[in-house]
């Protein structure tokens, strides 16, 4: 066939009515002419008309052939079947609505989950060649990432030829003065190559140049797009302005583009210039990002950095002898393992929901096919091919699936829109959640899969029954089908529901366990906030210590504040690691986490003292150095130093304060009960508490206990702060309860998702079970009536129906438990304090499904008992 003809044939499909009309006109003209000629040959008008028609041949058959010739037959047929199917569905709106609704639930849940999956794991990051962006870490142990030192970073930058650019960053905060109270902004100090790593261009002005990174250069700042909008009115003239940051005017030289950097909370970027004191190989404080050179693999870059270190063993500190260097892709850092696992589990769960939805639809279509046996038998009897009948039924199913898919897409859009604000904090900042072409393609694929899964088999089955009926003659339909198939499908639905129910119950149990964890601190009546000391006004430890003491003293006597404390890390939050202590007579250092506290930290938080004393306001900058340890560290010390108790022991500490490595001796004066620090799935780390006054830090958290409202407490804190230093803003005001929820909220995420999917699944399988049971009661009416007429008790019939339901549910439940076993390893990493095979949970899941099974059986059973033998037998006679 020439392409031209193919095109014309396709076009003809859309022009069928006009072509039909034209053909009709030609036929009419033809017959008229033929009749005229016949009359001219001497025939009577009636004979002439008959003769004309005879010579013309079958008109309708010719029209069919005309359509076949000019169009594309199978496409035409599909269109006709789809129209027919749509018409059939309009006549059965309830059936159509149920099927479309079930499919919309299944497909919508899948599309929504896939949208998240795609946003987090599939979409490339919005940078040029994102694969080349890496982060470089020191790795004290496999799987542990550590920041690096100034001199190591400079080595990598100078000798790392595998990289196009290497940049370091140090995160903190700066106070922006805008007229009223100063505002605390998240700030990053970055080396001048930083933006070259990400290969972006500024929206306005320029990025840092080499002169900006020289010591003594004029202070400059680059604004995030959000900061530009919020504080500078998105004015293009901003490049002529100076921003007063930490009390010092900074020339604004550039504005970042909107987009990915906007989702980072960092508001201002200033050049990172190293001071002579920071030139060290001991202080690990820099986070390093780099751009690989074209064609360079991560492995090659990593080996090069390792070789650089190996070439100068004399400068590497002793304690780092076993450390190594890792080069990781940026994407790996943006998606943590829990999130990845959550998404994969959610995809699995939602796939089960889809399978259940398909099973339900298949079952509904099977039931409908059974009622249409007569229609199909007639069609087969008058010569419709078996394939044609199957095709017609599949296309009818496909119409339903497409409508379900469209509804599902709407549902997904709604879910994603509604859930996005809640998801913001849980997803990596680079994730752009949107229904894009990937989601459309996925939904289309899922919809076609549902056609195959739910429509193909029932269509084939119905055609078989139609053939049987046609062969048997149309007088009576074939005997009632044994419905094994529909029962098997329901059992499968029950099985999948059991898997989901097990998952949901396990996660709910795990969430309950997490929320019941004793945080080790009191939650009520506490307000927390952050404040940062600007480097310019607090350049030294002494100044910072003075500030800390003044603030702690001021808060102790502030009205409305009953207790107050300063610390470097909030409870239930991650605590930085990297500090070490040496025990007397033990060569191997103990790695600890370091928490600096001032005021009445342990009292404010109600952390019980186990031995000795806590840290109080009496522990001043010039006083004897002391330390307090938590139980975990106390136990380690007892084991390592072979002493009966840690209190009274003098240990050597090594830590960093104000950019300087400090080594000092300190006496352990007390042991406190461990408080929780972040991830509840790992055991409490060893934590060493030292007085903030003796080891000052510019990044502070303030914890205030107040009998008054949080707002009143905040007012009191502001009053004290103004008296001590009016230039320092407070930010991140949160109650301790909010801090707690933030830490444990991550764990509630899979539980909710799973719970929702399980609820949908159980609803669908209950519907499926109900459908099968009511149909089987309807089909057995005769048999039931005979039994009743012969004296069976109605209670027996109820028992039979219920027993049938329980058999199905039982088979499904056993299969489902098998599925739960298979699913267990995936779920294990998400659970807390409950085994993935917890027998109580498995039993509860089975009990739950049996209960819903009984509920589904109740109505059909009642109907079975109420069969009126006289009526039924008379009807059928």
């Amino acid at each position: 066939m020439t392409p031209r003809r193919l095109l014309r044939r396709l076009l003809a499909l859309f022009d069928a009515r006009r072509l039909d009309d034209e053909l009709d006109a030609e036929i009419a003209a033809h017959l008229e002419l033929a009749e005229r000629d016949a009359r001219a040959a001497g025939l009577s008008p009636v004979e002439a008309r008959r003769e004309a028609r005879r010579r013309f041949g079958g008109v309708e058959a010719m029209k069919d052939e005309h359509r076949d010739t000019r169009g594309v037959r199978w496409l035409d047929t599909v269109a006709r079947d789809a129209r027919y199917g749509a018409g059939a569905l309009r006549r059965e709106p309830t059936f159509a609505a149920i099927v479309i609704g079930v499919l919309a639930l299944g497909i919508g849940a899948n599309a929504a989950t896939f949208t998240l999956f795609s946003a987090v794991l599939l979409k490339p990051m919005p940078f040029d060649d994102p694969d080349r962006i890496v982060q470089v870490w020191e790795a004290p142990r496999p799987g542990v990432s550590n920041a690096t030192t100034t001199l190591d970073f400079l080595d990598w930058q100078r000798l790392g030829t595998a990289f196009e650019a290497v940049a370091a960053e140090d995160s903190g905060a700066m106070a922006l003065e805008t007229g009223g109270d100063p505002v605390r902004l998240a700030a990053k100090r970055v080396t001048v190559d930083y933006f070259r790593v990400f290969a972006t261009r500024p929206a306005l002005g320029r990025f840092f140049g080499e002169p900006d990174g020289r010591p003594g250069a004029d202070p400059v700042v680059i604004l995030s797009h959000a900061t530009w909008r919020t504080f500078f009115g998105a004015s293009p003239g901003v490049l002529r302005e100076r921003a007063l940051l930490d009390g010092r005017p900074h020339q604004i030289i550039g504005v970042l583009p909107a987009g990915v950097f906007e989702q980072d909370e960092t508001a201002v970027y200033t050049p990172l210039v190293f001071t002579p004191e920071q030139s060290s190989r001991e202080i690990h404080w820099l986070t390093v990002s780099a751009r690989l050179g074209p064609g360079v693999t991560r492995e090659r870059a990593r080996d090069q950095l390792r070789a650089i270190r190996a070439a100068q063993p004399e400068v590497t500190p002793v304690f780092k002898r076993e450390w190594t260097i890792e080069v990781e892709p940026l994407s790996q850092l943006l998606v943590d393992d829990t999130l990845r696992r959550t998404l994969i589990v959610a995809c699995g769960a939602v796939l089960l929901v889809l399978l259940i939805a398909c099973a339900n639809v298949a079952n509904l279509l099977l039931a409908r096919g059974a009622t249409r046996t007569k229609e199909l038998a007639i069609r087969i009897a008058i010569g419709a091919g078996r394939g044609r009948v199957v095709a017609q039924l599949v296309i009818e199913g496909a119409v339903l699936c497409l409508l379900g898919g469209a509804a599902g897409l709407l549902l997904a859009w709604w879910i994603v829109t509604a859930a996005t604000p809640a998801l913001r904090g849980l997803l990596p900042p680079s994730a752009v959640v949107s229904l894009d072409w990937r989601v459309l393609l996925f939904t289309l694929a899922v919809t076609f899969a549902t056609v195959l899964l739910s429509a193909l088999f029932p269509a084939w089955h119905a055609s078989v029954r139609g053939m049987t009926a046609a062969a048997a003659g149309l007088g009576r339909g074939p005997s009632a089908p044994r419905a094994y198939l529909r029962k098997a499908i329901v059992a499968a639905e029950v099985a999948m529901s059991v898997v989901l129910l097990c998952g949901a119950l396990l996660l709910a149990q795990s969430l309950g366990n997490l929320l019941r964890i004793d945080p080790g601190v009191r939650l009520d009546g506490l307000v927390t906030m952050s404040l940062d000391l600007p480097a310019r006004t607090y350049p030294s430890r002494e100044r910072a210590a003075q500030f800390t003491e003044a603030l702690a003293d001021g808060l102790a006597s502030a009205p409305g504040v009953s207790r107050a404390s300063l610390t470097t890390f909030l409870p239930m939050r991650w605590v930085a690691n990297g500090e070490v202590l040496w025990l007397p007579g033990v060569e191997r250092p103990v790695r600890v986490r370091f928490k600096r506290v001032a005021g009445d930290y342990f009292d404010t938080l109600d952390i019980p003292l186990i031995a000795g004393r806590g840290i109080t306001r009496g522990d001043r900058a010039g006083g004897p150095p002391i330390a307090v340890v938590n139980q975990t560290l106390a136990a380690q010390i007892v084991t390592a130093a072979r002493v009966p108790r840690p209190v009274g022991l003098t240990v050597r500490l090594q830590y960093v304060t104000f950019g300087q490595a400090v080594e000092t001796f300190a006496e352990i004066v007390g042991v406190i009960q461990s408080e929780r620090t972040g991830n509840p799935r790992v055991p409490d780390p060893p934590v060493l508490y030292v007085p903030l006054t003796q080891a000052p830090d510019p990044r502070l958290k303030l914890i205030v206990r107040s009998d008054a409202s949080p707002a009143a407490a905040l007012g009191a804190v502001r009053g004290v702060l103004r008296a001590v230093d009016p230039g320092i803003p407070v930010a991140d005001v949160m109650t301790m309860r909010e801090v707690h929820d933030r830490t444990y909220r991550g764990a509630s995420r899979p539980a909710w998702t799973f719970g929702m999917f399980a609820a949908i699944a159980i609803l669908l399988s209950t519907l499926g079970l109900y459908g099968v049971l009511s149909q089987s009661v309807a089909q057995q009416r005769r048999e039931l009536a005979v039994r009743l007429a012969l004296g069976a008790a109605p209670a027996d019939l109820v028992r039979r129906t219920v027993a049938g339901a329980l058999r199905l549910v039982g088979i499904g439940a056993i299969a489902g438990l098998g599925g739960a076993l298979a699913f267990a390893p995936v779920l294990r990493g998400l659970l807390y304090g409950v085994s993935a095979l917890d027998p109580r949970v498995l039993a509860a899941a089975v009990a739950g499904i049996v209960t819903t099974g009984l509920a589904a059986a109740a109505f059909p059973a009642r109907r079975a008992a109420r069969v009126e033998p006289a009526l039924v037998l008379r009807d059928d006679a």
């Binding site: 020439t2 030609e26 003209a29 041949g57």
Partner: protein, 116 residues
Amino acid sequence: MSKRDMSEPKAELPHGTLDLLILQTLQTLGSLHGYGIARRIEQLAGTERLSQGAIYPALIRLEQQGWIGTEWGMSETNRRVKIYALTKAGVAQLQLEVQRWRQATALVARFVEAKS
């Protein structure tokens, strides 16, 4: 008793020749309406060989191939009717088909007349 039986040409034109007959008719007589084409073929082939209606599916096929063109005209009974005419491509196609037909008949003739 199925409908299909009625649409088959009765004493059957040789398979595949209808297109050629239509093109040749239009070549010989110039533009014509459907009835005129059918009459001409009947005159030459005999009335029993063709149901007149059978030319219409062939006409639409030839039109879609671009071998014949149509325009609307008036029949002798004053009805709007499609008038068919050979296109340039149709003239070329006709030559090709005639040539093919000659080759085919010559081949068959050689086989039929071959003695041993």
